[in-house]
């Protein structure tokens, strides 16, 4: 492991994901939050978060993502938005849309909210409400989307796609267009946290993946200048891994509900790592000098073949949490990569999943936490 004290200060992060709470009214089977969640009593209070936002802005963070769980489960959400905007951050709210009344939207708008990102479990009410586990949720989401657009605030639809709904992708993009969203994020499920439990039911088939890529390419051409489409394809079917977070400790960081500072959303799954807590150390120190952030920063930590690979600054060896989940070793190259021996393990896992002709495996919802 490289010596973290002798290192220079790394470039500042651009984005902070603030997981305000793990509480959520939905029970999505692909929830990426850890299986072991932070209880309400351990959540940071308003003043703690306001201090984090100030420290983040001073460190160089530009974009703040208020996330969860469902951030609207926090009664002080309006105060948190005001504090973040006061710190000079661009404030993005990532929400299921549940718990946001018109009155609360008024208050959030007045507090300086910049952008709303609404999660979508499906384009058909019966799919959406079955996946999210709340009857009537789809209609409430649509009402929120219309209200956000009517206010003139930018709206992003965040469509989480998997085997059960990827065939609805064309309709999903059309819905974003019809609602007047400025942007849609087509995010195929990543298998972290609770989602890993449902891998067999969620993993899209190769044919679905190819069709999705074609749909996105055609829609991007057709909707240029009207709808921005960001696409995260399912990486198990790819030849090379995706760059995770733009590289560990390079562009972004997360703060969990209890103040734990993480290099990525799933980092706590890595055994033997201790993460700094912003209740105890300044955010700048956690970013620049904690062993956790330095563990996989840059290229020094890399094993072969990454170390001498021409793609090492493109994908940084891929996702640490995926290497851990599939290979049992967070310091191995991402097993998606076909240049590495770990790929055989991933192929065995893929071969064991239900094929295109089989019915997709049933999904285990996570219990809603209020």
């Amino acid at each position: 492991m490289p010596d973290d004290v002798a290192r220079q200060v790394p470039p500042p992060p651009v984005a902070l994901l603030a997981e305000l709470t793990h509480r959520c009214p939905l029970s999505c089977p692909y929830c990426s939050n850890p299986v072991e969640m932070v209880p309400r009593g351990s959540e940071m209070n308003t003043a703690d978060w306001a201090r984090v936002f100030d420290e983040a802005a001073a460190l160089g963070v530009l974009q703040l993502h208020l996330s969860g769980g469902e951030p609207a489960a926090r009664r002080d959400l309006e105060d948190l938005v005001a504090a973040a905007r006061g710190a000079g951050l661009y404030v993005n709210l990532i929400t299921s849309g549940l718990g946001l009344t018109e009155a609360r939207l008024d208050a959030l708008e007045a507090a300086g909210l910049d952008h709303v990102q609404l999660s979508l479990q499906g384009v058909r009410p019966e799919v959406s409400d079955r996946i999210g586990g709340v009857a009537g949720a789809f209609d409430r989401k649509m009402a929120l989307a219309r209200s956000v657009v009517a206010r003139g605030l930018p709206l992003t639809l965040n469509a989480v796609m998997h085997r059960h709904n990827l065939d609805d992708l064309p309709a999903t993009i059309m819905l974003a267009e019809a609602l007047g969203a400025r942007r849609i994020e087509v995010a195929c499920v990543q298998f972290h946290g609770w989602a890993a439990i449902n891998r067999a039911g969620l993993m899209p088939t190769r044919a679905q993946t190819e069709a999705a890529k074609a749909t996105v390419a055609a829609a991007r051409a057709r909707l240029k200048g009207r709808l921005v489409i960001d696409f995260v394809p399912p990486d198990y079917h790819a030849d090379f891994p995706k760059s995770c977070m733009g590289g560990w400790g390079s562009t972004g960081l997360n703060v969990a509900p209890d103040g734990t500072v993480l290099p990525c959303h799933a980092a706590q799954s890595i055994p033997g790592m201790t993460f700094p807590n912003v209740r105890e150390v300044p955010l700048a120190l956690a970013w620049a000098h904690s062993p956790a952030f330095n563990a996989f920063r840059g290229t020094d930590w890399m094993p072969e073949p990454c170390r001498s690979c021409d793609r090492r600054s493109i994908d940084q060896g891929g996702c640490r949490c995926q290497a851990l989940a599939i290979l049992g070793d967070a310091a191995a190259p991402d097993p998606v990569c076909r240049r590495t021996p770990g790929r055989a393990q991933l192929d065995r896992l893929l071969a064991g999943l239900p094929g295109p002709e089989a019915a997709p495996a049933p999904l285990t919802p996570r219990a809603a936490v209020r």
Binding site: G60, L62, Q63, Y90, H115, Q117, P154, R182
Partner: protein
């Protein structure tokens, strides 16, 4: 850059949710929008600083040409290309006078 050529009559503006930010840590202006942070060079910042929802592309180019004592035609082409690129990413809205 090969986007459509924008007419000089077009009035560009920053839509709600897109704003200029002075990044003191990196020492450069940044355009912030949904999931985007575009670091600006002095030329880009000067162009965006002229967007007030009333001035047309032609007027903006004329003002910048005067300020930088540069040929208006060249500036006009740069401004149009820069604005067209941002409009394609929905970071600038194009309206009519």
């Amino acid at each position: 850059m090969t986007g459509p050529v924008l007419s000089a009559e077009i009035v560009p503006r920053l839509p709600r949710g897109v704003r200029l930010h002075d990044d003191r840590v990196r020492g450069c202006p940044v355009l912030l929008g949904p999931e985007r942070a575009v670091m600006l060079d002095p030329v880009g910042a000067a162009i965006l600083g002229e967007l007030d929802g009333a001035r047309s592309l032609g007027e903006i180019a004329a003002r910048l040409a005067e300020r930088y004592a540069a040929p208006a035609e060249e500036i006009g082409a740069d401004v149009a290309a820069f604005v067209a690129d941002l409009a394609e990413r929905r970071l600038v809205e194009l309206g009519n006078a």
